[in-house]
Symmetry: C2
Subunit: 863 residues, 2 copies
């Protein structure tokens, strides 16, 4: 056992009449290991207990008194004259300490608290401890008095001291506890990132968060009631001061999104720093529950409250004595009422939050009208309460014995919109905040403003490269499709001499029949115009779509999927397959069937005759009907059940239409922006459209915005001398600044190898995200009928029959519920389930998802 | 002439060999008056010259060296060894100074600069002046040595000193100038808002901005080339330090949105404060061009650059000597290269901005596809470049002799979306930033998260109060309408026993004909389903809407408008009017025709028979056709030409439909959220729908979001055991967190008298915004056919004939261009023009708009 006098230089040996026992241990202890678990199993998810209040203490600058506030709160909790229970526990956590051991905030809290016990409630039974887990070599040497090997690594310091103050009340068997912990310490009194640079002892963010997570779970494990335990995490320096890795602390701790107490600045100039720090916390999604400032005679609380619109309380602490010999006991006495109020505020916010969590599912079921949801099938207990998201993960409220926040990977990509990692999400928050402040929303037609222009430029240089020259903005995929149809039909009409002049009153109300050619199983959105372009399905009956007639020639497409580790081609009826060789029907790799060399195959010929035949049959049948546009989802049909269409077939189809002067629309709402591994699926298809629609991932998945790109030839079909010849379609928020700003940031982010490590050196494709062996294995599982893995998408169809097949099926429900327990949030398309990640998600994360899925498949028993 | 030694205590009398002349004036001067102009004319718009670089110097805290940076820049500009021209001008403006006269930053710049001239370029010809415009009584007394009357008011101090340093170069006739100005000064060295509180001398923000605007125009008036003039505005304290009125400076100066130099903090803890200050500036829409920090040996620039992703340069100044007797001359010498780089950065950003302004119109015309716009009719020079918006105003780039930024009131409310004043806009920016950081976007169906729940609650308690119980979210008005139609038809089908079960494969593809009843001239959005619910019009021809058939019974409605100061009712053919009294056809006030007492009038009877007749005739005609929904825009038809429909007629129509069990849809996309003076137009109509659609103003006009509200009875029509009976309609970003957050903030803001001074004491209506007398006057103008004024809308139809009538008309063009010169941005609906403000816009602002409109009507010559 080592005695570390330099570390704990307090008045620990001062006698006190009522003190029965006072012990000071300092020994190496590893009750909480700070090493990451060695297992190759999934990284521990950052589950967070809600069984008691946990807060972070932030400050707008260094030296403003965070540690005084922590100490005051500890005293208010444990030494209250009116305790809420016989015994309470206060856990103080200092994740990062520099200037150690001469500066040690956890030692300060420990020491001051002990003094306050003796001063205020000497009869009280309380045990207080202070524990320092890890330290840099030089900080450890300063404590231990000798150095050790392993330059640059952190030492398991495990310095521990404990005091038991067993007052008269001890007899009752009750004892309160103060637990202080410093997780990591460095010797120099500088910013942690600099200390690491100079002394070594790097800590990856992930490891730091895991250790912190375990510290936060301390108080929730001993079964005390909610009100009896408190945890407080005290940060280092200001809100945006770097942590050990250089990550700003406000970003570093974001996954826990703990409610915040902000220690502001009561000095001259302090209003500004306090407000800015508050805004930095808000810009990372934190809830600031109270602001505390020291009184410097400048009544800074008045402008602060005015700025805050009285939504956040501002508490004022008495001036702190400047004399370093002052033991602060009188100051703590004077501050008692403030800390007591602060504690009450924190407790009431905590209680309200828990209450709201419990109320939300019922409220939601009572007043929401969820889309695509049969409310009768959603009992209150299955409603997911989402507290927040951080990158790819939801934080959801759960109850198992106690309340907690669980992390779930958003494997439905929130209806295929999602792309941001945690870093991009915060960058987007700042950028859309900027766009809102700079532009709000401004009128688009005949105007130009930077975000819209830059967005249009990036679209034309990216997904529209080589063919598109115009960008038309709208709000969602569905409207983008309706616009595309209008564009295509106009172009078709001009090209085929069908002129019904809308400026001529005689032709108003007259119309000819113009339809699309499309593929069965494709889906283009929910508005009527988009709906008309899809084949009849369970979505299109009278009760759903009273005006639907199905304005198209709908072809059965050939699909490709993996089964038992082999890619197989499934041909529709009508495609001549007698003469085809086996190698035209099965493939060892994706590269084979995406190869352009298939253009000369006999299958290409079969496709071409099949399409010609269908077109001739249709025009023979209908006489006056025109096919005015081709519309396809390139490569993969999304909503239709994640079917991969043979790219050769789609390429032949495009060529057949082009030769007939039928404009070609690519619906890239689902497939665009790296969803399938390339920025545009047209790259995979090796052919280009005349018109293409984008939405979903375009803004990084953060805000609605859609674009319809078109060639100059299409655009020119709307030129004329009258406004009535223009495209008279537009939505109020066309090209809104926030959406365009988010798109600009995301489009650049996804394709930049600096920000997206999945971008391959050539920059045209994402690296493979789904482990080939695992994919094979799953495709060979008896419960699995077929698998599709491409880009950010992994989909499988469960073997099923009868009513278990199709969109209405609840077949996959039990599997989904199990996977949610594993921290994977899925949403099925009937008996088709899929995992979808973002363009920046690491292959390691994807493998963890596949492993979890495989494990659950093993135990899958259809309901 | 007064000599104020305390004010300018520099080494002004030190002799120098090459000094030819040095004069020190201090006298009262009013070349720039700081009083507002007394005229009742419109408040001077905050036009901003772009003829030379103008920057604001901000700091993350007080005492970081803003004034050193200003001085260094002045020297870099005027004393460069390689001047860009013979003579240059540097204008230094300190709007707000406290601690005066002992602290005077403008005096510091003046003095140090003079010293630097003598040190660096004694042969140089330069004139330097320092001028203090206004001071509080006690600051003035400290300067003048005597007090004066008028406690609490600002004094015209006009302290002025000037030095002419006529070096050898003077012979060449060229002379450079440094102009330093302090606009307002207070004596105590505290925050300006506190100084005002203690010493008096309040300055309204508007006045301060006007004076600053005039100071900023100084350099642009003398015809120098762009590179020769620089202006720098130095703020007081930190970025969010309060100004004299208490408004935070970052908010106060926002209307100019000057590009920013941020002086950061190089000390321990300074990274955090610098980043937070940067974020506060971004959250107000400022562009930060460079960050400057003082070297404190902590290499704070490294994490700053990492945070900034190298997008903003960080410059490091040498350590500033702490010795107060140091004259800093050596420090300025050592800093010369840094200031020179800073100046180059500022110059290049400035030049690029101007260049981009000039390029944007052509780029826009080349790659945008504007909605509702015939591109051929938009020459490059008519494209408006919008640099930003602040509250109701656009800041647009203009060129007249020189480049400048002009303010234009957004009188089209950017397609009727706008509502925020400048304060709400910044609150929305922070709140949507928070929502993006906390939630990004998360999946909605079967889930609940706070912004969506709170938004739904507010909608049901507000616009849906008394009837709605469910909220369905979508993206825009058009999708909200399609959803409403699906809801209504389902309800109608159930109520009338029409069951085509979409789960029964036999009925898939079968359909019955169900249509709407609607009013001619109403407009419900641009997607096909919404379009089908409107009567044939110039929007619906084959070329525009190839699939349009017009699925409705469309009635001609009676309209009400003001003409010659009288409200007149215009009845459609078919409404029996023989027996009507004159008082049923004209009204002295709006209250008369909105009165529910008209329900018993003979006109109500005529309406009722007219509607019954039409319905019977229709069902007789079509046989199998069902009228499955009523859809109306309550009170005013927006896109149809701003026609006010007789509210009695709409009420009777609703009742007729209800008695036939036809569900009633209110399209409140345009009319909702105070647009017409009430939160919901159904309040004006005194009747309630079964379904209502909202969008546009719902989010305050900042971001797309729509909601379709419905009664429980409508919702229950979708209940069942199968998912396929649910409403299978949804968009990816359904109930996205940012949109809901913006809606929550805006809905509360608009109806709270604390934040919206237009809310009347009863809280149900906005006060009258359009001056009655002006409205009368305009309605009597010979060029005007009719006027509608209601809530935030003022519309008029110009007298016109033939092709000048209707949406395609360009009749109003000349009028619009004139009004844009007056700072009013209008967009016409053919020969109908309108002014639209926000719910918080002051009646004074509205009157200014009406006056400008009236003036331009006087000179209106149709093109």
């Amino acid at each position: 056992m080592l005695l570390l006098s330099s570390l704990f230089s307090s008045s620990s040996s001062s006698p006190h009449s009522r003190l029965l026992l006072l012990r000071l241990h300092i020994h190496l202890r590893r009750s909480i290991s700070s090493s990451p678990p060695p297992s190759p199993s999934p990284p521990p998810l950052l589950d967070l207990p809600l069984s008691h209040p946990i807060y972070t203490i932030w400050a707008s600058n260094t030296g403003l008194g965070k540690t005084l506030v922590s100490t005051g709160l500890a005293a208010a909790t444990l030494l209250s004259p009116f305790p809420s229970s016989d015994s309470a526990k206060f856990i103080y956590i200092k994740p990062v300490q520099t200037g150690f051991p001469s500066d040690s905030d956890s030692a300060f809290v420990f020491r001051k608290f002990s003094q306050l016990v003796l001063r205020r409630r000497p009869s009280f039974a309380v045990s207080a401890s202070n524990h320092v887990l890890k330290a840099s070599a030089s900080a450890a040497e300063a404590v231990l008095g000798f150095g050790s090997e392993g330059e640059g690594e952190l030492r398991d310091l495990g310095a521990y001291e404990e005091r038991r103050l067993l007052g008269e009340e001890w007899a009752a068997g009750a004892a309160s506890e103060l637990t202080c912990k410093t997780m990591y310490a460095w010797r120099e009194a500088i910013s942690p990132h600099l200390a690491v640079e100079r002394e070594g002892g790097a800590v990856p963010d992930k490891v730091l968060l895991e250790v912190l997570g375990r510290c936060l779970r301390i108080g929730s494990e001993d079964g005390r009631g909610r009100m009896d335990v408190w945890s407080v995490v005290e940060t280092a320096g200001g809100v945006a001061s770097p942590g050990p890795s250089g990550t700003l602390q406000c970003d570093l701790y974001r996954p826990f999104r703990l409610p915040a107490i902000l220690v502001g600045d009561g000095r001259l100039g302090g209003i500004s720093g306090t407000i800015s720090a508050y805004e930095s916390l808000k810009l990372r999604g934190y809830d600031v529950v109270a602001i505390v400032i020291e009184d410097h005679g400048l009544v800074n609380e008045v402008p602060l409250l005015s700025y805050l619109g009285n939504r956040v309380p501002v508490l004022v602490l008495p001036p702190v004595p400047q004399d370093p010999s002052d033991n602060l006991m009188e100051w703590f006495d004077k501050s008692q009422a403030v800390f007591s109020s602060l504690k009450e505020i924190m407790l009431s916010v905590y209680s309200e939050r828990i209450q709201r969590f419990h109320d939300m599912p019922k409220r939601a079921g009572d007043i929401f009208w969820w889309p695509f949801t049969q409310h009768k099938l959603v009992p209150e207990e299955t409603v997911t309460v989402i507290d927040s998201r951080c990158g790819e993960n939801f934080s959801v409220h759960k109850v198992q014995n106690n309340d907690f926040i669980a992390q779930q990977f958003d494997a439905c990509a929130s209806w295929w919109t999602q792309g941001p990692d945690a870093t991009l999400q915060i960058e987007l928050a700042r950028d859309v905040g900027y766009a809102a402040a700079r532009f709000g929303h401004v009128m688009f037609p005949e105007n130009v403003y930077e975000p819209a222009l830059e967005c249009a430029e990036l679209l034309l240089e990216g997904v529209g490269k080589g063919w598109a020259s115009r960008t038309f903005f709208s709000d969602n995929g569905s409207t983008a499709i309706e616009v595309a149809l209008k564009m295509a039909f106009r172009k078709f009409s001009l090209d085929h001499g069908i002129i019904l002049d809308s400026t001529d009153p005689n032709t108003i109300g007259k119309f000819i029949e113009v339809k699309v050619i499309a593929l069965k199983g494709s889906y283009h959105g929910d508005t009527l115009g988009a709906m008309e372009a899809q084949a009849p399905s369970s979505y299109t009956g009278f009760l759903q779509q009273p005006w639907y007639t199905g304005k198209g020639l709908f072809l059965d497409p050939p699909t490709i999927f993996m089964c038992d580790g082999i890619w197989k081609l499934s041909l529709p009826e009508g495609v001549q397959s007698e003469k085809l060789k086996q190698e035209e029907l099965t493939f060892q790799s994706r590269g084979e069937f995406f190869s352009k060399s298939r253009d000369g195959s006999s299958l290409a010929g079969s496709y071409s005759s099949f399409i010609s035949q269908q077109l001739s049959a249709y025009s023979g049948l209908r006489g006056f009907g025109h096919i005015g546009a081709l519309i396809i989802e390139p490569v993969v049909h999304g909503s239709g059940g994640m079917h991969m269409i043979d790219p050769l077939f789609q390429r032949v189809l495009v060529n057949e239409c082009r030769s007939r002067k039928i404009p070609v629309i690519f619906d890239e709402v689902f497939t665009g922006f790296w969803r399938l591994g390339a920025e545009s699926a047209s790259e995979l298809l090796c052919c280009q459209p005349d018109i293409a629609c984008f939405a979903k991932l375009m803004t990084g998945g953060i805000i609605p915005l859609a674009a319809t790109l078109a060639t100059d030839a299409v655009f020119n079909a709307f030129a004329g001398d009258s406004k009535l010849k223009a495209l008279l379609h537009g939505h109020s928020y066309t090209a809104h600044a926030m959406g365009c700003t988010a798109a600009v940031k995301s489009i650049k982010w996804f394709k930049d190898p600096q920000t997206n490590s999945n971008i391959t050196s050539e920059g045209r494709l994402l690296r493979e995200l789904w482990d080939a062996e695992l994919v094979h294995q799953i495709s060979s599982h008896p419960a699995v009928q077929r698998v599709v893995a491409l880009g950010t998408l992994f989909a499988l169809e469960l073997q099923a029959e009868g009513s278990n097949v199709g969109y209405g099926s609840l077949y996959a429900r039990s599997l989904l519920l199990k996977l949610r327990e594993d921290g994977v949030y899925l949403r099925p398309l009937g008996n088709v389930i899929y995992l979808m990640c973002g363009p920046c998600t690491s292959p390691e994360t994807c493998s963890q998802l596949l492993i979890k899925l495989y494990r659950r498949l093993e135990e899958f028993k259809p309901s």
